[in-house]
């Protein structure tokens, strides 16, 4: 896939950083403000998609990237299940229990395991969307040869 002009590259470099930071902010403040793992993860994936579209990439690099994103999402969702299973042994002894201390409502470190779920789900969603996009792009590259 070919990249775009220098202006597009420069601008998207700047913008992608901002979008990325915004996605992280949305994920971390999921229990305080609107948004959360799903929205934030999709925004982070959007930043990566923007960079890939602007800069282009060879099929070989794309394949490395897709392996990375696929592994990342697997690990993230595995952590979600493990976190859910942990509460079988800690705290309330039920699947998906909220076993961490709740803290003071309204602060960043509160709501027990909810921020952790938000982070893992955010990574998973970003990885999954990026994997879907990269799989499509790689297929288009390889089949048009």
């Amino acid at each position: 896939m070919e990249g775009m002009s220098t202006i597009v590259k420069k601008v998207s470099q700047l913008v992608a950083g901002l979008i990325f930071m915004y996605g992280i902010y949305i994920i971390l403040h999921g229990h305080l403000t609107p948004g959360g793992g799903f929205a934030g993860g999709a925004i982070v994936a959007g930043a990566f998609i923007l960079l890939i579209l602007a800069f282009g990439s060879s099929a070989l690099n794309l394949k490395k990237e897709v392996a990375g994103s696929s592994n990342t999402e697997s690990v993230a969702i595995l952590l979600v299940v493990i976190l859910a299973l942990m509460s079988l042994f800690l705290g309330a002894k039920v699947f998906f229990g909220n076993f961490l201390p709740k803290g003071e409502a309204g602060t960043l470190l509160s709501a027990g395991v909810i921020p952790l779920y938000n982070i893992f789900i955010g990574i998973e969603v970003a990885g999954a969307i990026l994997t879907i996009f990269l799989a499509l792009v790689i297929f288009k590259e390889e089949s048009s040869k």
Binding site: G30, A39, F96, N98, G112, I114, I129, A135
Partner: protein, 177 residues
């Protein structure tokens, strides 16, 4: 409230009909964007900011994916010849749809009108939610605590779709090909 949403819905319906009848596939995809972004405005009016954020991002990504698929294709949709059978089919479809519409009208007659909803199961998701989950955002509280199991399923669905796309888009299906 009802009026504003009705107007936006009117635009969404027009967009949807255009999307189905557009000759060029790219304009069809973009017309679907009208429907999707119209939905975002409705969500904002209906006090659902979480949904608005998710919908706007997901809609954008869906559009990117769809445009990537459509872009270097032929894009022109081939003409459906309009003969007697298709006329009969359309008429039958409209009669059935009118019947369904009438049925739906009767089915929802006795239900709560817009804005008069009362909380049932969700009452405890709102009252005392802060003590239960500690999450200020009630939707996040429902998603990741009261109904976290649903959220696991949802994440698994996205994971499955990514794995499925990866599987379906590999070059060779069998080793001997």
């Amino acid at each position: 409230m009802e009026l504003q949403i009705s107007i936006i819905l009117g635009f969404m319906i027009i967009g949807a009909i255009y999307a189905l009848h557009a000759k060029d596939l790219l304009s069809a995809v973009i017309a679907m964007g009208i429907v999707g972004y119209g939905l975002v405005i409705c969500f904002l009016l209906l006090k659902a900011p979480d949904l608005a954020i998710v919908q706007i991002v997901v809609e954008t990504i869906t559009l990117v994916i769809m445009v990537a698929v459509v872009l270097d294709s032929t894009r022109e949709e081939e003409k459906v010849p309009f003969d007697r059978t298709s006329l009969v089919n359309t008429l039958v479809a409209f009669v059935v749809f009118a019947g369904l519409f009438y049925f739906f009208l009767h089915a929802i007659e006795d239900l709560n009108p817009l804005g008069k909803h009362t909380l049932g199961m969700a009452e405890s998701y709102v009252i005392g939610a802060l003590e239960h989950t500690g999450s200020v955002n009630l939707v996040t509280g429902v998603l990741f605590d009261f109904r976290a199991y649903d959220t696991l399923g949802e994440a698994v669905i996205l994971y499955t779709a990514a794995l499925g796309a990866l599987t379906l888009l590999r070059m060779k299906g069998k080793k001997t090909d």
